[in-house]
Protein backbone atom coordinates (compact mmCIF):
# COMPACT_ATOMS: atom_id res chain seq x y z
CA UNK A 1 0.00 0.00 0.00
CA UNK A 2 2.80 2.44 0.91
CA UNK A 3 4.50 1.79 -2.45
CA UNK A 4 1.25 2.76 -4.22
CA UNK A 5 1.39 6.07 -2.36
CA UNK A 6 4.99 6.57 -3.51
CA UNK A 7 4.08 5.73 -7.12
CA UNK A 8 1.18 8.16 -7.04
CA UNK A 9 3.41 10.84 -5.53
CA UNK A 10 5.87 10.16 -8.34
CA UNK A 11 3.09 10.78 -10.89
CA UNK A 12 2.52 14.25 -9.44
CA UNK A 13 6.24 14.99 -9.50
CA UNK A 14 6.45 13.79 -13.12
CA UNK A 15 3.55 16.13 -13.97
CA UNK A 16 5.37 19.00 -12.21
CA UNK A 17 8.54 18.17 -14.20
CA UNK A 18 6.59 18.11 -17.47
CA UNK A 19 5.18 21.51 -16.59
CA UNK A 20 8.71 22.69 -15.89
CA UNK A 21 9.81 21.53 -19.32
CA UNK A 22 6.93 23.47 -20.88
CA UNK A 23 7.79 26.62 -18.92
CA UNK A 24 11.45 26.35 -19.85
CA UNK A 25 10.60 26.01 -23.52
CA UNK A 26 8.16 28.89 -23.54
CA UNK A 27 10.42 31.13 -21.45
CA UNK A 28 7.33 32.78 -19.96
CA UNK A 29 6.77 33.34 -16.28
CA UNK A 30 3.06 32.51 -16.22
CA UNK A 31 1.73 32.87 -12.68
CA UNK A 32 -1.00 30.26 -13.15
CA UNK A 33 1.59 27.65 -14.26
CA UNK A 34 3.68 28.45 -11.18
CA UNK A 35 0.66 27.88 -8.92
CA UNK A 36 -0.16 24.60 -10.67
CA UNK A 37 3.47 23.54 -10.15
CA UNK A 38 3.26 24.29 -6.41
CA UNK A 39 -0.06 22.43 -6.11
CA UNK A 40 1.38 19.37 -7.86
CA UNK A 41 4.38 19.44 -5.51
CA UNK A 42 2.10 19.73 -2.44
CA UNK A 43 -0.02 16.79 -3.64
CA UNK A 44 3.12 14.69 -4.19
CA UNK A 45 4.47 15.69 -0.80
CA UNK A 46 1.27 14.64 1.01
CA UNK A 47 1.10 11.29 -0.81
CA UNK A 48 4.74 10.66 0.00
CA UNK A 49 4.09 11.51 3.63
CA UNK A 50 1.17 9.05 3.65
CA UNK A 51 3.49 6.38 2.21
CA UNK A 52 6.12 7.01 4.89
CA UNK A 53 3.51 6.95 7.68
CA UNK A 54 2.01 3.68 6.39
CA UNK A 55 5.43 2.07 6.17
CA UNK A 56 6.35 3.33 9.66
CA UNK A 57 3.13 1.80 11.04
CA UNK A 58 3.95 -1.54 9.42
CA UNK A 59 7.52 -1.53 10.74
CA UNK A 60 6.54 -0.10 14.14
CA UNK A 61 9.53 2.24 13.82
CA UNK A 62 10.83 5.16 11.80
CA UNK A 63 10.96 3.92 8.17
CA UNK A 64 14.71 4.19 7.71
CA UNK A 65 15.68 0.56 7.65
CA UNK A 66 16.83 0.18 4.04
CA UNK A 67 18.16 2.17 1.09
CA UNK A 68 14.71 2.51 -0.51
CA UNK A 69 13.17 4.04 2.60
CA UNK A 70 16.10 6.41 3.03
CA UNK A 71 15.80 7.54 -0.59
CA UNK A 72 12.06 8.17 -0.20
CA UNK A 73 12.80 10.12 2.98
CA UNK A 74 15.49 12.28 1.30
CA UNK A 75 13.13 13.09 -1.60
CA UNK A 76 10.40 13.97 0.91
CA UNK A 77 12.77 16.18 2.95
CA UNK A 78 13.85 17.95 -0.24
CA UNK A 79 10.22 18.81 -1.08
CA UNK A 80 9.63 19.81 2.55
CA UNK A 81 12.46 22.38 2.42
CA UNK A 82 11.35 23.55 -1.01
CA UNK A 83 7.85 24.22 0.33
CA UNK A 84 9.30 26.01 3.37
CA UNK A 85 12.01 28.01 1.57
CA UNK A 86 10.37 28.73 -1.81
CA UNK A 87 7.54 31.02 -0.66
CA UNK A 88 9.59 32.82 2.03
CA UNK A 89 12.30 33.86 -0.45
CA UNK A 90 9.89 34.19 -3.40
CA UNK A 91 12.40 32.37 -5.54
CA UNK A 92 10.92 32.10 -8.97
CA UNK A 93 11.51 28.78 -10.65
CA UNK A 94 12.91 26.95 -7.58
CA UNK A 95 10.07 24.43 -7.87
CA UNK A 96 10.79 24.00 -11.54
CA UNK A 97 14.32 22.81 -10.75
CA UNK A 98 13.26 20.84 -7.64
CA UNK A 99 10.58 18.75 -9.41
CA UNK A 100 12.97 16.94 -11.81
CA UNK A 101 15.43 16.28 -8.97
CA UNK A 102 12.70 14.70 -6.80
CA UNK A 103 11.46 12.71 -9.79
CA UNK A 104 14.91 11.22 -10.35
CA UNK A 105 15.34 10.34 -6.65
CA UNK A 106 11.87 8.75 -6.46
CA UNK A 107 12.08 6.91 -9.77
CA UNK A 108 15.50 5.38 -9.10
CA UNK A 109 14.32 4.37 -5.62
CA UNK A 110 11.13 2.73 -6.89
CA UNK A 111 12.64 0.98 -9.91
CA UNK A 112 15.95 -0.26 -8.42
CA UNK A 113 15.78 -3.53 -6.41
CA UNK A 114 16.64 -1.83 -3.13
CA UNK A 115 13.42 -2.22 -1.18
CA UNK A 116 14.47 -5.37 0.68
CA UNK A 117 13.90 -6.11 4.36
CA UNK A 118 17.08 -5.26 6.17
CA UNK A 119 17.91 -5.86 9.78
CA UNK A 120 20.07 -2.98 11.00
CA UNK A 121 23.42 -3.97 12.52
CA UNK A 122 22.65 -2.08 15.70
CA UNK A 123 19.76 -2.81 18.02
CA UNK A 124 16.72 -0.56 17.94
CA UNK A 125 17.00 2.71 19.89
CA UNK A 126 15.21 6.08 19.73
CA UNK A 127 18.67 7.70 19.55
CA UNK A 128 19.42 5.86 16.31
CA UNK A 129 16.09 6.97 14.88
CA UNK A 130 16.84 10.55 15.97
CA UNK A 131 20.30 10.36 14.39
CA UNK A 132 18.95 8.92 11.11
CA UNK A 133 15.93 11.23 10.94
CA UNK A 134 17.93 14.40 11.49
CA UNK A 135 20.60 13.16 9.07
CA UNK A 136 17.96 12.63 6.38
CA UNK A 137 16.51 16.10 7.01
CA UNK A 138 20.05 17.47 6.58
CA UNK A 139 20.25 15.60 3.26
CA UNK A 140 16.97 17.31 2.24
CA UNK A 141 18.38 20.78 2.98
CA UNK A 142 21.64 19.95 1.21
CA UNK A 143 19.72 18.53 -1.77
CA UNK A 144 17.89 21.86 -2.04
CA UNK A 145 21.26 23.65 -1.78
CA UNK A 146 22.30 21.49 -4.76
CA UNK A 147 19.19 22.62 -6.69
CA UNK A 148 19.88 26.29 -5.89
CA UNK A 149 23.54 25.85 -6.90
CA UNK A 150 22.41 24.32 -10.21
CA UNK A 151 20.21 27.38 -10.83
CA UNK A 152 23.13 29.66 -9.90
CA UNK A 153 25.42 27.79 -12.30
CA UNK A 154 22.92 28.04 -15.17
CA UNK A 155 22.29 31.75 -14.57
CA UNK A 156 26.02 32.51 -14.32
CA UNK A 157 26.65 30.67 -17.60
CA UNK A 158 23.89 32.64 -19.31
CA UNK A 159 25.31 35.95 -18.09
CA UNK A 160 28.82 34.98 -19.12
CA UNK A 161 27.68 33.79 -22.57
CA UNK A 162 26.42 37.31 -23.46
CA UNK A 163 23.48 35.62 -25.21
CA UNK A 164 20.95 34.90 -22.46
CA UNK A 165 18.50 32.11 -23.33
CA UNK A 166 14.80 31.79 -22.53
CA UNK A 167 15.42 30.72 -18.90
CA UNK A 168 17.41 33.90 -18.17
CA UNK A 169 14.33 35.95 -17.34
CA UNK A 170 12.78 33.17 -15.28
CA UNK A 171 15.74 32.59 -12.98
CA UNK A 172 16.53 34.86 -10.03
CA UNK A 173 19.67 37.03 -9.74
CA UNK A 174 22.97 35.20 -9.15
CA UNK A 175 23.55 37.18 -5.95
CA UNK A 176 20.17 36.11 -4.55
CA UNK A 177 20.85 32.45 -5.39
CA UNK A 178 24.23 32.77 -3.69
CA UNK A 179 22.65 34.10 -0.47
CA UNK A 180 19.98 31.38 -0.41
CA UNK A 181 22.60 28.70 -1.13
CA UNK A 182 24.70 29.78 1.86
CA UNK A 183 21.66 29.83 4.17
CA UNK A 184 20.68 26.32 3.06
CA UNK A 185 24.24 25.14 3.60
CA UNK A 186 24.22 26.59 7.13
CA UNK A 187 20.95 24.81 7.85
CA UNK A 188 22.22 21.55 6.34
CA UNK A 189 25.51 21.65 8.27
CA UNK A 190 23.69 22.48 11.52
CA UNK A 191 21.35 19.51 11.03
CA UNK A 192 24.28 17.26 10.08
CA UNK A 193 26.07 18.29 13.28
CA UNK A 194 23.01 17.58 15.44
CA UNK A 195 22.59 14.22 13.68
CA UNK A 196 26.26 13.39 14.32
CA UNK A 197 25.83 14.23 18.00
CA UNK A 198 22.80 11.93 18.07
CA UNK A 199 24.98 9.22 16.53
CA UNK A 200 27.72 9.72 19.14
CA UNK A 201 25.18 9.54 22.00
CA UNK A 202 23.59 6.42 20.51
CA UNK A 203 26.96 4.65 20.71
CA UNK A 204 26.81 4.82 24.48
CA UNK A 205 23.37 3.14 24.40
CA UNK A 206 23.63 0.53 21.63
CA UNK A 207 27.35 0.02 21.12
CA UNK A 208 29.89 1.06 18.50
CA UNK A 209 28.84 1.86 14.91
CA UNK A 210 30.52 -0.04 12.02
CA UNK A 211 33.70 1.93 11.20
CA UNK A 212 32.95 2.51 7.44
CA UNK A 213 29.79 4.39 8.46
CA UNK A 214 31.71 6.44 11.00
CA UNK A 215 34.36 7.33 8.39
CA UNK A 216 31.68 8.24 5.84
CA UNK A 217 29.76 10.38 8.31
CA UNK A 218 32.87 12.31 9.39
CA UNK A 219 34.10 12.72 5.81
CA UNK A 220 30.71 14.14 4.74
CA UNK A 221 30.60 16.49 7.70
CA UNK A 222 34.16 17.71 7.00
CA UNK A 223 33.44 18.26 3.29
CA UNK A 224 30.38 20.36 4.10
CA UNK A 225 32.06 22.25 6.96
CA UNK A 226 34.95 23.14 4.61
CA UNK A 227 32.51 24.19 1.88
CA UNK A 228 30.57 26.39 4.30
CA UNK A 229 33.81 28.00 5.50
CA UNK A 230 34.89 28.63 1.89
CA UNK A 231 31.55 30.21 0.99
CA UNK A 232 31.35 32.42 4.07
CA UNK A 233 34.90 33.24 5.23
CA UNK A 234 36.74 32.40 1.99
CA UNK A 235 34.51 34.63 -0.19
CA UNK A 236 33.61 31.89 -2.63
CA UNK A 237 30.75 33.18 -4.77
CA UNK A 238 29.34 32.47 -8.18
CA UNK A 239 30.40 29.59 -10.39
CA UNK A 240 33.13 28.14 -8.15
CA UNK A 241 30.80 28.07 -5.14
CA UNK A 242 27.98 26.54 -7.24
CA UNK A 243 30.21 23.79 -8.68
CA UNK A 244 31.66 22.97 -5.23
CA UNK A 245 28.15 22.75 -3.71
CA UNK A 246 26.97 20.42 -6.47
CA UNK A 247 30.13 18.28 -6.16
CA UNK A 248 29.69 18.04 -2.38
CA UNK A 249 26.17 16.70 -2.79
CA UNK A 250 27.30 14.16 -5.40
CA UNK A 251 29.98 13.04 -2.87
CA UNK A 252 27.31 12.77 -0.16
CA UNK A 253 25.04 10.62 -2.36
CA UNK A 254 27.88 8.44 -3.64
CA UNK A 255 29.23 7.81 -0.15
CA UNK A 256 25.72 7.22 1.22
CA UNK A 257 24.78 4.73 -1.52
CA UNK A 258 28.17 3.05 -1.26
CA UNK A 259 27.88 2.63 2.50
CA UNK A 260 24.31 1.38 2.24
CA UNK A 261 25.32 -1.27 -0.34
CA UNK A 262 28.22 -2.32 1.87
CA UNK A 263 25.86 -2.60 4.83
CA UNK A 264 23.63 -4.99 2.82
Amino acid sequence: MDRYCFWMALLFYVAASALTHRRLRSGRAVASLHHINVMLMVAGFLLQLAGLVLRGMNLQRCPLTNLFEMQMFIAWALVLFYLLIGPSYRVSFLGAFTAPMVTVLMLTGLVAPIDKPHMPALKHSPWIEFHAGIGILACGALALAFVVAAMDFVQDRQLKSHHPGPTFRLLPAVEQLDVIGVRLLKLGVALLTIGMLGGIISETVVGAWPWPKVVWAWATWLVYAALLAARTVGNWHGRRAAVATMAAFVFLLTAYWGMSWLAR
Binding site: G27, R28, L159, R169, A173, V174, E175, N235, H237, R240
Partner: protein, 340 residues
Protein backbone atom coordinates in the same frame (compact mmCIF):
# COMPACT_ATOMS: atom_id res chain seq x y z
CA UNK B 1 -24.78 53.55 -34.86
CA UNK B 2 -21.15 53.17 -35.88
CA UNK B 3 -17.78 53.22 -34.23
CA UNK B 4 -15.61 55.84 -35.94
CA UNK B 5 -11.95 56.56 -35.33
CA UNK B 6 -9.98 59.48 -36.73
CA UNK B 7 -6.35 59.96 -35.79
CA UNK B 8 -2.70 60.17 -36.65
CA UNK B 9 0.38 58.43 -35.28
CA UNK B 10 4.17 58.20 -35.61
CA UNK B 11 3.82 56.36 -38.93
CA UNK B 12 1.40 58.75 -40.60
CA UNK B 13 2.66 62.11 -39.29
CA UNK B 14 6.01 63.64 -38.36
CA UNK B 15 6.61 64.89 -34.85
CA UNK B 16 6.14 68.53 -35.96
CA UNK B 17 2.53 67.72 -36.91
CA UNK B 18 1.90 65.42 -33.92
CA UNK B 19 2.94 68.03 -31.40
CA UNK B 20 0.54 70.57 -32.91
CA UNK B 21 -2.51 68.34 -32.54
CA UNK B 22 -1.64 66.87 -29.16
CA UNK B 23 -4.11 67.46 -26.31
CA UNK B 24 -2.74 68.49 -22.91
CA UNK B 25 -3.52 65.74 -20.41
CA UNK B 26 -5.33 68.10 -18.04
CA UNK B 27 -7.67 69.29 -20.80
CA UNK B 28 -8.67 65.87 -22.18
CA UNK B 29 -12.04 65.77 -20.41
CA UNK B 30 -12.97 69.30 -21.37
CA UNK B 31 -11.94 68.73 -24.99
CA UNK B 32 -13.98 65.52 -25.16
CA UNK B 33 -17.12 67.32 -23.93
CA UNK B 34 -16.56 70.08 -26.48
CA UNK B 35 -16.16 67.43 -29.20
CA UNK B 36 -19.47 65.72 -28.29
CA UNK B 37 -21.35 68.98 -28.82
CA UNK B 38 -19.46 70.12 -31.91
CA UNK B 39 -19.66 66.88 -33.90
CA UNK B 40 -23.05 65.63 -32.60
CA UNK B 41 -21.70 62.32 -31.34
CA UNK B 42 -23.24 59.79 -28.96
CA UNK B 43 -19.95 58.89 -27.27
CA UNK B 44 -16.31 59.95 -27.57
CA UNK B 45 -12.82 59.44 -26.09
CA UNK B 46 -9.56 61.14 -27.04
CA UNK B 47 -6.23 59.30 -26.78
CA UNK B 48 -3.29 61.69 -26.91
CA UNK B 49 0.33 60.60 -26.42
CA UNK B 50 3.65 61.75 -27.87
CA UNK B 51 3.25 59.22 -30.68
CA UNK B 52 -0.45 59.41 -31.45
CA UNK B 53 -3.65 61.42 -31.28
CA UNK B 54 -6.78 59.36 -31.85
CA UNK B 55 -10.46 60.13 -31.38
CA UNK B 56 -12.74 57.14 -30.80
CA UNK B 57 -16.45 57.86 -31.20
CA UNK B 58 -19.89 56.33 -31.52
CA UNK B 59 -21.82 58.20 -34.20
CA UNK B 60 -25.21 57.79 -35.90
CA UNK B 61 -23.74 58.44 -39.32
CA UNK B 62 -20.19 57.33 -40.05
CA UNK B 63 -20.01 59.29 -43.30
CA UNK B 64 -20.70 62.56 -41.50
CA UNK B 65 -18.72 61.81 -38.35
CA UNK B 66 -15.36 61.48 -40.15
CA UNK B 67 -15.32 64.99 -41.66
CA UNK B 68 -16.78 66.44 -38.44
CA UNK B 69 -13.88 64.97 -36.43
CA UNK B 70 -11.34 66.35 -38.88
CA UNK B 71 -12.97 69.79 -38.65
CA UNK B 72 -12.94 69.59 -34.88
CA UNK B 73 -9.18 68.89 -34.81
CA UNK B 74 -8.61 71.93 -37.05
CA UNK B 75 -10.84 74.20 -35.00
CA UNK B 76 -9.66 73.08 -31.57
CA UNK B 77 -5.96 73.47 -32.40
CA UNK B 78 -6.53 76.55 -34.60
CA UNK B 79 -4.65 74.97 -37.50
CA UNK B 80 -4.22 76.79 -40.78
CA UNK B 81 -2.77 73.96 -42.88
CA UNK B 82 -4.75 70.85 -43.84
CA UNK B 83 -4.20 67.65 -41.87
CA UNK B 84 -5.85 65.29 -44.31
CA UNK B 85 -2.64 63.75 -45.59
CA UNK B 86 -1.69 62.67 -42.08
CA UNK B 87 -5.01 61.42 -40.76
CA UNK B 88 -6.46 57.94 -41.00
CA UNK B 89 -10.04 56.85 -40.45
CA UNK B 90 -11.35 53.47 -39.28
CA UNK B 91 -14.95 52.26 -38.92
CA UNK B 92 -16.56 49.57 -36.75
CA UNK B 93 -14.59 46.30 -37.00
CA UNK B 94 -11.43 48.12 -38.17
CA UNK B 95 -11.78 50.62 -35.33
CA UNK B 96 -11.99 47.79 -32.75
CA UNK B 97 -8.97 46.02 -34.27
CA UNK B 98 -7.00 49.26 -34.31
CA UNK B 99 -7.57 50.00 -30.62
CA UNK B 100 -6.69 46.43 -29.66
CA UNK B 101 -3.48 46.65 -31.70
CA UNK B 102 -2.65 49.96 -30.02
CA UNK B 103 -3.13 48.78 -26.42
CA UNK B 104 -1.20 45.57 -27.10
CA UNK B 105 1.77 47.65 -28.30
CA UNK B 106 1.56 46.27 -31.87
CA UNK B 107 1.12 49.75 -33.30
CA UNK B 108 3.82 51.38 -31.16
CA UNK B 109 7.15 52.80 -32.29
CA UNK B 110 8.84 50.27 -29.97
CA UNK B 111 7.02 47.02 -30.71
CA UNK B 112 5.36 45.54 -27.64
CA UNK B 113 6.01 48.49 -25.32
CA UNK B 114 3.67 48.53 -22.35
CA UNK B 115 3.49 52.23 -21.52
CA UNK B 116 0.76 52.78 -24.10
CA UNK B 117 -1.71 50.62 -22.14
CA UNK B 118 -1.45 52.99 -19.15
CA UNK B 119 -1.80 56.02 -21.41
CA UNK B 120 -4.95 54.66 -23.07
CA UNK B 121 -6.35 53.74 -19.64
CA UNK B 122 -5.79 57.35 -18.51
CA UNK B 123 -7.49 58.68 -21.66
CA UNK B 124 -10.46 56.37 -21.12
CA UNK B 125 -10.71 57.43 -17.47
CA UNK B 126 -10.73 61.11 -18.49
CA UNK B 127 -13.51 60.50 -21.03
CA UNK B 128 -15.48 58.48 -18.50
CA UNK B 129 -15.12 61.22 -15.90
CA UNK B 130 -16.37 63.78 -18.41
CA UNK B 131 -19.44 61.59 -18.99
CA UNK B 132 -18.51 61.14 -22.67
CA UNK B 133 -18.58 57.35 -22.78
CA UNK B 134 -21.55 54.98 -22.89
CA UNK B 135 -22.24 51.29 -23.38
CA UNK B 136 -20.35 51.03 -26.69
CA UNK B 137 -17.11 52.79 -25.80
CA UNK B 138 -17.08 51.31 -22.29
CA UNK B 139 -17.26 47.85 -23.78
CA UNK B 140 -14.75 48.69 -26.52
CA UNK B 141 -12.10 49.94 -24.08
CA UNK B 142 -12.67 47.29 -21.44
CA UNK B 143 -12.45 44.51 -24.03
CA UNK B 144 -9.29 46.11 -25.43
CA UNK B 145 -7.69 46.20 -21.95
CA UNK B 146 -8.65 42.57 -21.38
CA UNK B 147 -7.10 41.64 -24.73
CA UNK B 148 -3.87 43.45 -23.80
CA UNK B 149 -3.70 41.63 -20.46
CA UNK B 150 -4.28 38.27 -22.13
CA UNK B 151 -1.75 38.87 -24.88
CA UNK B 152 0.91 40.11 -22.48
CA UNK B 153 0.58 37.02 -20.32
CA UNK B 154 0.33 34.40 -23.06
CA UNK B 155 2.72 35.67 -25.73
CA UNK B 156 6.28 37.01 -25.75
CA UNK B 157 5.31 40.37 -27.28
CA UNK B 158 6.63 42.29 -24.26
CA UNK B 159 9.59 39.99 -23.59
CA UNK B 160 13.01 41.49 -23.05
CA UNK B 161 14.17 45.05 -23.49
CA UNK B 162 14.70 46.56 -26.88
CA UNK B 163 16.84 49.53 -25.91
CA UNK B 164 20.49 49.34 -24.83
CA UNK B 165 19.83 51.22 -21.57
CA UNK B 166 17.01 48.89 -20.56
CA UNK B 167 19.03 45.81 -21.55
CA UNK B 168 21.68 47.01 -19.08
CA UNK B 169 19.02 47.34 -16.36
CA UNK B 170 17.65 43.89 -17.13
CA UNK B 171 21.14 42.38 -16.85
CA UNK B 172 21.82 44.23 -13.58
CA UNK B 173 18.59 42.83 -12.13
CA UNK B 174 19.79 39.30 -12.91
CA UNK B 175 23.13 39.89 -11.21
CA UNK B 176 22.19 41.78 -8.05
CA UNK B 177 19.64 40.79 -5.45
CA UNK B 178 18.55 44.33 -4.72
CA UNK B 179 19.40 47.23 -7.02
CA UNK B 180 18.64 49.73 -4.26
CA UNK B 181 21.68 48.43 -2.37
CA UNK B 182 23.99 48.74 -5.36
CA UNK B 183 26.43 51.52 -6.20
CA UNK B 184 26.77 52.69 -9.78
CA UNK B 185 29.84 54.49 -11.12
CA UNK B 186 29.74 56.38 -14.41
CA UNK B 187 33.23 57.00 -15.83
CA UNK B 188 33.09 59.58 -18.62
CA UNK B 189 29.91 61.43 -19.50
CA UNK B 190 28.02 60.98 -22.74
CA UNK B 191 24.50 60.46 -24.06
CA UNK B 192 24.59 56.67 -23.80
CA UNK B 193 26.16 56.51 -20.35
CA UNK B 194 23.68 59.12 -19.13
CA UNK B 195 20.73 57.14 -20.52
CA UNK B 196 22.00 53.92 -18.93
CA UNK B 197 22.60 55.60 -15.56
CA UNK B 198 19.14 57.17 -15.73
CA UNK B 199 17.54 53.79 -16.51
CA UNK B 200 19.35 52.18 -13.56
CA UNK B 201 18.38 55.05 -11.29
CA UNK B 202 14.74 54.79 -12.36
CA UNK B 203 14.80 51.14 -11.23
CA UNK B 204 16.02 52.24 -7.82
CA UNK B 205 19.82 51.90 -8.09
CA UNK B 206 21.22 53.15 -4.76
CA UNK B 207 24.31 55.35 -4.84
CA UNK B 208 25.54 56.99 -8.04
CA UNK B 209 29.04 58.30 -8.62
CA UNK B 210 29.89 60.35 -11.70
CA UNK B 211 33.51 60.63 -12.65
CA UNK B 212 34.89 62.62 -15.57
CA UNK B 213 37.78 64.83 -16.60
CA UNK B 214 35.41 67.77 -17.07
CA UNK B 215 34.43 68.59 -13.50
CA UNK B 216 31.58 70.88 -14.49
CA UNK B 217 30.01 68.32 -16.81
CA UNK B 218 30.24 65.47 -14.30
CA UNK B 219 28.93 67.77 -11.55
CA UNK B 220 25.90 68.69 -13.66
CA UNK B 221 25.13 65.05 -14.49
CA UNK B 222 25.59 64.01 -10.85
CA UNK B 223 23.19 66.74 -9.73
CA UNK B 224 20.70 65.75 -12.42
CA UNK B 225 20.67 62.11 -11.34
CA UNK B 226 20.94 62.73 -7.62
CA UNK B 227 24.49 61.34 -7.43
CA UNK B 228 27.94 62.51 -6.35
CA UNK B 229 30.69 63.77 -8.65
CA UNK B 230 34.24 62.51 -8.07
CA UNK B 231 37.50 63.45 -9.71
CA UNK B 232 38.67 61.29 -12.62
CA UNK B 233 41.88 60.34 -10.82
CA UNK B 234 39.92 59.06 -7.82
CA UNK B 235 37.96 56.32 -9.56
CA UNK B 236 40.33 53.48 -8.58
CA UNK B 237 39.92 54.51 -4.92
CA UNK B 238 36.12 54.28 -5.09
CA UNK B 239 36.10 51.21 -7.34
CA UNK B 240 36.10 48.60 -4.57
CA UNK B 241 32.73 49.89 -3.29
CA UNK B 242 31.13 49.91 -6.72
CA UNK B 243 28.82 47.18 -8.11
CA UNK B 244 28.02 48.55 -11.56
CA UNK B 245 30.47 50.48 -13.73
CA UNK B 246 29.36 52.34 -16.85
CA UNK B 247 32.47 53.38 -18.74
CA UNK B 248 32.33 55.73 -21.71
CA UNK B 249 35.61 57.63 -21.90
CA UNK B 250 37.48 58.77 -24.98
CA UNK B 251 40.66 57.09 -23.74
CA UNK B 252 42.66 55.42 -26.54
CA UNK B 253 43.71 52.58 -24.17
CA UNK B 254 41.71 50.40 -21.77
CA UNK B 255 41.41 52.10 -18.38
CA UNK B 256 40.28 48.94 -16.56
CA UNK B 257 42.63 46.01 -17.08
CA UNK B 258 42.66 42.45 -15.77
CA UNK B 259 45.76 43.18 -13.67
CA UNK B 260 44.09 46.19 -12.03
CA UNK B 261 40.87 44.28 -11.46
CA UNK B 262 42.28 41.20 -9.69
CA UNK B 263 43.28 43.03 -6.46
CA UNK B 264 40.11 45.16 -6.63
CA UNK B 265 37.96 42.02 -6.75
CA UNK B 266 39.77 40.72 -3.67
CA UNK B 267 39.14 44.02 -1.91
CA UNK B 268 35.41 43.72 -2.62
CA UNK B 269 35.36 40.11 -1.31
CA UNK B 270 34.73 38.71 -4.76
CA UNK B 271 31.17 40.05 -4.88
CA UNK B 272 29.61 40.26 -8.38
CA UNK B 273 30.71 43.19 -10.54
CA UNK B 274 28.85 44.38 -13.62
CA UNK B 275 30.98 46.27 -16.14
CA UNK B 276 29.24 48.13 -18.96
CA UNK B 277 31.70 49.31 -21.59
CA UNK B 278 30.18 51.93 -23.87
CA UNK B 279 33.52 53.46 -24.88
CA UNK B 280 34.86 53.29 -28.44
CA UNK B 281 37.68 52.26 -28.43
CA UNK B 282 36.81 50.00 -25.54
CA UNK B 283 37.65 51.16 -22.00
CA UNK B 284 37.69 47.75 -20.34
CA UNK B 285 40.08 44.98 -21.33
CA UNK B 286 38.18 41.95 -22.65
CA UNK B 287 40.22 39.64 -20.37
CA UNK B 288 38.32 41.06 -17.38
CA UNK B 289 35.31 38.96 -18.40
CA UNK B 290 37.30 35.78 -17.69
CA UNK B 291 37.47 36.67 -14.01
CA UNK B 292 34.96 34.97 -11.79
CA UNK B 293 31.92 37.08 -10.80
CA UNK B 294 32.85 39.78 -13.30
CA UNK B 295 30.22 40.31 -15.99
CA UNK B 296 31.48 42.51 -18.83
CA UNK B 297 29.15 43.75 -21.56
CA UNK B 298 30.06 46.14 -24.34
CA UNK B 299 27.87 48.10 -26.77
CA UNK B 300 27.80 45.28 -29.35
CA UNK B 301 26.72 42.70 -26.77
CA UNK B 302 23.85 44.84 -25.53
CA UNK B 303 22.77 45.92 -29.01
CA UNK B 304 22.70 42.26 -30.04
CA UNK B 305 20.50 41.35 -27.05
CA UNK B 306 18.17 44.26 -27.86
CA UNK B 307 18.04 43.07 -31.48
CA UNK B 308 17.35 39.46 -30.44
CA UNK B 309 14.57 40.62 -28.12
CA UNK B 310 13.00 42.63 -30.93
CA UNK B 311 13.21 39.60 -33.23
CA UNK B 312 11.40 37.50 -30.60
CA UNK B 313 8.70 40.17 -30.38
CA UNK B 314 8.34 40.31 -34.16
CA UNK B 315 7.86 36.55 -34.30
CA UNK B 316 4.91 36.95 -31.91
CA UNK B 317 3.03 39.49 -34.05
CA UNK B 318 1.02 36.92 -36.00
CA UNK B 319 -0.01 35.05 -32.84
CA UNK B 320 -1.14 38.35 -31.31
CA UNK B 321 -3.10 39.28 -34.41
CA UNK B 322 -4.90 35.91 -34.37
CA UNK B 323 -5.82 36.38 -30.71
CA UNK B 324 -7.03 39.90 -31.45
CA UNK B 325 -9.08 38.79 -34.49
CA UNK B 326 -11.19 36.44 -32.35
CA UNK B 327 -11.97 39.23 -29.90
CA UNK B 328 -12.71 41.73 -32.68
CA UNK B 329 -15.28 39.37 -34.21
CA UNK B 330 -17.04 38.84 -30.88
CA UNK B 331 -17.21 42.56 -30.11
CA UNK B 332 -18.28 43.51 -33.64
CA UNK B 333 -21.14 41.00 -33.44
CA UNK B 334 -22.24 42.44 -30.09
CA UNK B 335 -22.22 45.98 -31.55
CA UNK B 336 -24.22 44.91 -34.60
CA UNK B 337 -26.83 43.20 -32.43
CA UNK B 338 -27.16 46.18 -30.14
CA UNK B 339 -27.19 49.04 -32.61
CA UNK B 340 -28.56 47.69 -35.91
Amino acid sequence: MNLVLVGLNHCSAPVAVRERVAFPRAKLGEATCELLGAAKLAEAAIVSTCNRVEIYTLAADAEQAGPALRRYLHTYHKLTEPLDGYLYERHNRDCIAHLMNVVCGLDSMVLGETEILGQVKDAYAAAQLAGATGAALNRLFQKAFAAAKHIRSTTAITRGSTSVANVAVELAEKIFRDLTQSTVMVIGTGTMSEATAKALRSRGAGTLLVCGRDREKSGTLAAQLGGRAIHYDDWPVEFSKVDIVISATASPHPIVTREKLIPLMKARHNRPLFLIDIGVPRDIETGCDELENVYLYNMDDMQQIAKDNLAVRKREINICRELIAERVTRLAEWLEERYQ
